[in-house]
Symmetry: C3
Subunit: 276 residues, 3 copies
């Protein structure tokens, strides 16, 4: 099925494959390549020079293959130079920086942001309201839960004894923050509301609310002990102190949470958290 | 105003916006996108597939906005695949590697070089004769003074308690060297003529002439104690021993410095340094 | 000489220079730029938006120069957005990820793989069956021997006292593994069959079979002591336990090695290794 909604813009130099669905108000900037079987939902903008629905390895044998479907949700912004593979399912309000690569077979929730030069390696499960900054590397099989923050040059690894072909993904739990340049070893669980400090090499599971730093990473504190850089106020759990980009914008986290249905909590994978 | 100087080359596949000024001997290689309100000064080369004057976030709401002016100084070389936002002011003899991203609202002096895959996040102030190698990440609000060297995978961070919306930039002072993979915490001052060793996690201000290494970074020496890898000679302060790319090429640093006017020293932000 | 073999595909939007040889079954996807004096051997695929035979610095003075020859071996796959300079010699079955940069004057053997966003800086000597993952930075003058593994965000540096103009390359010996985020200091030798742990800052030569970790990196074990994450089995030397992508696929390393001629061993730079 090929479909063009109302007010779709396809700029000069674009190459559009077969079975491409472009819903209302989709805007595609110069020189984009949209491969076969791509659905771009309403109001989404694709920046210049992007490749959407990029071929997986199968294609290279004979330069043809049935491209697995790719869906990009509504009101998303894919910035210029990004490459998104076929075979991903991406929610609404997705945003990327430039030159981002998203490999195949990942599921990405709503309101996720992935910064410039970041590389999601495929077979990942990313929740909603996940904020990844520039140049992060999310290894295959990673599970990054909703309401998590991943800062520049963080790597989530997956091979316990490289090289091997038995990968175990990292699991970043809700509200965790992984700061710049931290490396997380395969199979590690980063606990809910924890903070991995910049440059930490994380070799053991991180407790809920723990602060882990160093090489090898050690628990050095509890996030609830951290004061603001500017005052004597506590600033963690961050959800009590920060609302930008978050669904509780304009109210407190608690007010928002109280209003959620059980199904909504489950969708966000936060149904089992006893918030303090 | 649209203007084309003498001997301007615009190669096939380029898309040129409105109010674009291309001075004499500007050369634009294949498939470049030059957005509105861009001025490229004489003798500058733009490599293939670059996007110059890229849209800021405002544009995405309605796919139109008044693009803030961008100026790239004369005799610059922007290598292929780079993306430079609107709203920057960039000096002469600027060079980039490939796939560089320079976000909006930065001021960049003369004779600055930024390596392949580097990412300058915007709202930065970069001096002159700054040499950034590949894949550096310069966070918003960073101040990188003249005659500094930033090596691969260095990150200058800006958020003391992530996530927050109160950023404090790093300040790298003249003649400092930040070696490969060093991470510098928000608000840190890297002292004049200091050396941050490879892989250091810098959590405290770095004294002038100090050598800082480790995680967390500690002062381990004075740069004046460092000998060459090849002989018993001192090699720091580097300005006394290295002249490539520098304005004192062919003479000593001292000879060059003595010949500067007060205004020239002030422009380079080195008017208050008591050189030993 | 310009030559087109049988069944060559040049997709829309490509720009092909002079003296370009495209052998049988070469496939070039959309919008590629192939500069002068490039030879692409049979069965190789060039993904979209690649620049092959990119200009070196000489070109920028007058926007012309004699492009040094570039050869890419047969059955290679260059993924979209990659930039490969003129003046390289690259073997068969070469593979890159996306947005890879390979600078000039390197020699790369057969069956080498270089991941997304990796940056090989030029004047390097890369053996055969080398597997580099995403986002590695291989400094000028590096020697990376056959059967080595380089994981994401590894940097091989080359300047002992930055800034200088006297580089000394790193040497990674056969069967060594350099794990994620390790930084290797200039001139270091990484011993045969050794394992550099994730995040290690390597400041001293690494012994054969050693495990080195930490900042600064210290020998913490012998690879032969490492057990599998999943069982009590030894997993190193990895060549005895892993065969994917390797020429001994379907047999043991020993069986394969025994069948090699002296010349074949020499080509792989493993003629002097006494395998245990």
């Amino acid at each position: 099925m090929e479909y063009r909604g109302k007010n779709v813009t396809i700029s000069e130099g674009c190459r559009i494959g077969e079975n491409v669905v472009l819903e209302d108000n989709v805007y595609i900037d110069y020189n984009c390549i949209i491969r076969d079987n791509v659905t771009i939902k309403e109001g989404t903008t694709i920046g210049a020079n992007c490749i959407i629905g990029e071929y997986t390895a199968d294609w290279f044998a004979e330069h043809k293959s049935e491209n697995a479907p790719l869906t990009i949700g509504k009101n998303s912004i894919i910035r210029s130079g990004s490459i998104i593979y076929s075979g991903n399912q991406i929610g609404d309000n997705f945003q990327t920086g430039h030159q981002v690569t998203i490999r195949e077979k990942s599921i990405i929730g709503n309101n996720v942001s992935v910064g410039t030069l970041s590389d999601i390696q495929g077979n990942c499960h990313i929740g909603s309201y996940v904020r990844m900054h520039s140049n992060v590397h999310i290894g295959q099989l990673s599970q990054v839960d909703s309401f998590t923050w991943i800062y520049p040059y963080v790597v989530l690894t997956n091979d316990p004894t490289p090289p091997s072909d038995r990968f175990v993904g990292v699991h970043v739990k809700p509200f965790a923050v992984v700061a710049t340049g931290a490396l997380v070893m395969p199979g590690i669980e980063i606990g809910q509301d924890s903070l991995v400090a910049a440059g930490a090499i994380v070799t053991k599971n991180v407790d809920d609310y723990a602060v882990v730093a160093g090489n090898p990473g050690k628990k050095i504190s509890d996030v609830r002990n951290i004061k603001s850089h500017f005052s004597d106020e506590s600033v963690y759990p961050w959800r009590e102190h920060f609302e930008n980009y978050m669904p509780w914008l304009g109210k407190t986290f608690g007010e928002w949470y109280t209003g959620l249905s059980d199904e909504e909590k489950k969708d966000l994978n936060i149904e089992n958290i006893a918030f303090e």
